[in-house]
Subunit: 234 residues, 2 copies
DNA sequence: CAAGTTAATCGTACGTTGTACGAGTCATCT
DNA sequence: AGATGACTCGTACAACGTACGATTAACTTG
């Protein structure tokens, strides 16, 4: 009734394969879900969450605004797809038996964090639309790796969610600082102005500390230490 | 130029103190920042993020839409204020010397989590507008408590951000499940349908596990164990 | 080849939203 | 009395998402 194109991904017609004549590639490619999503990510990177308007997206694609709606149901779906596109993971072989499991986990989580920080808008999207296929894939990877590492089934969910939450939180916090320099400056100013109210974080310069990555890794190490029994020696 | 009312909070005029006559309290109270924020929170609880429209908010207040703009600069500010309002903390005495510091920390963080889950829309707001006064207060509290607990200044920021991130992530993840039953059902369905692709999380029923609170506490314990030197015995 | 079917594009238009602008009301101060 | 400032609100507008239907191009079926 409502959805014209829902589940499937590829359905592109091959009509521009230059049948008899016309080797010129026509600067205007045909619309496609892939192109829409890629352009949406570009636009989000360039203009932020509020900068994504259907008309503007269509402009960038050299198409009319309403043409988009044959490929996506609505704007929300564009957000969904853009978020998931940014979260794809090409990591080390998922089934590597000779496990440096800890390295695998850290790598995946660090990559996750890095990917999201490359696209700061993604953090703001996460709370609304978790559980795209790429997120699920990463959860699956995390799960199987930890399982292979010897985490008991009973503790598996705790371990997964703890790591997961940690990364999400780190990314969210960090990205919110990234968003606008004005905001950060304003916050600093407010903080400095009210340093009488917040003496301790003022003293430790909490908000000015720039070693986010170091803090991230240290905390992650502590978590992993706690979550996995110390019997890792293979 | 642009802002009519910015920094200060109270400025209410006392003109309805019933000077000579008129003891009836007039069902329509005067507008005030406090009332606006409180009503915004109500509205958000009832209708969600997208349900907050300026006109609707004004309706609930028995006022015209434009009247709101004397008290707030724009809609974004309403979001800011609503978020911060929800994050107020009335915890145990901040300067309790006889430190059950660990209990204090856990209590504050658990309260934080509980508060946000009571208002699921707050998680979606966090990435955009961190650092309201109530957030800063909690950071300050966390900071001073850990400092008193013996965490070295050099490790303080790592400790704070680790705990912080963990809580934010847990809340965000959890709230996204809370948001709509449809979404969750859809995710479950997709997961079950594609269980071939996600065998491990299917087996552990990761997404169906309901003991969020238990997982939260366990992971928090691990983090605290790692972050604070085991020399806590008073 | 003709006629129909399907895939895809897009112009127009509508309803909803945030909010700029300026007029209006009322209490207080000089 | 007049002026000032705090506060309210009706009107109007621009920007946005998108419903609707017309349009075109390619392929299918006869």
């Amino acid at each position: 009734m409502a959805a014209k194109r829902s589940g499937g991904q590829s359905k592109r017609s091959e009509r521009n394969v230059s049948p008899p004549s016309g080797p010129e590639p026509r600067s205007e490619q045909p619309l496609s879900l892939e192109r829409i999503v890629a352009t949406a990510v570009e636009l989000l990177d360039a203009e932020g969450l509020d900068g994504l308007k259907m008309r503007r997206l269509a402009d960038r694609l050299g198409a009319g605004a309403m043409s988009l709606y044959w490929h996506v149901g609505n704007k929300e779906e564009v957000f969904d797809l853009a978020l998931d596109a940014v979260l794809a993971y090409r990591g080390p072989a998922p089934l590597g038996e000779a496990g440096d499991w800890r390295g695998d986990v850290v790598h995946m989580l660090a990559d996750w964090r890095a990917g999201m920080l490359r696209h700061p808008w993604s953090a703001a999207l996460l709370p609304r639309r978790a559980l795209g296929p790429n997120i699920l894939f990463r959860l699956e990877l995390l799960s199987s790796t930890l399982s292979r590492a010897g985490v008991a089934d009973a503790d598996l969910n705790v371990a997964i969610w703890s790591l997961w939450n940690y990364v999400i939180g780190a990314t969210t916090t960090r990205a919110s600082f990234e968003l606008s320099d004005e905001d950060r400056a304003a916050a600093q100013q407010r903080l400095t102005g009210l340093s009488q109210h917040y003496p301790t974080i003022e003293r430790s310069r909490l908000l000015l500390d720039n070693d986010w990555e170091g803090a991230f890794n240290k905390g992650l190490d502590f978590l992993l230490d706690g979550l996995v029994p110390k019997q890792y020696n293979s």
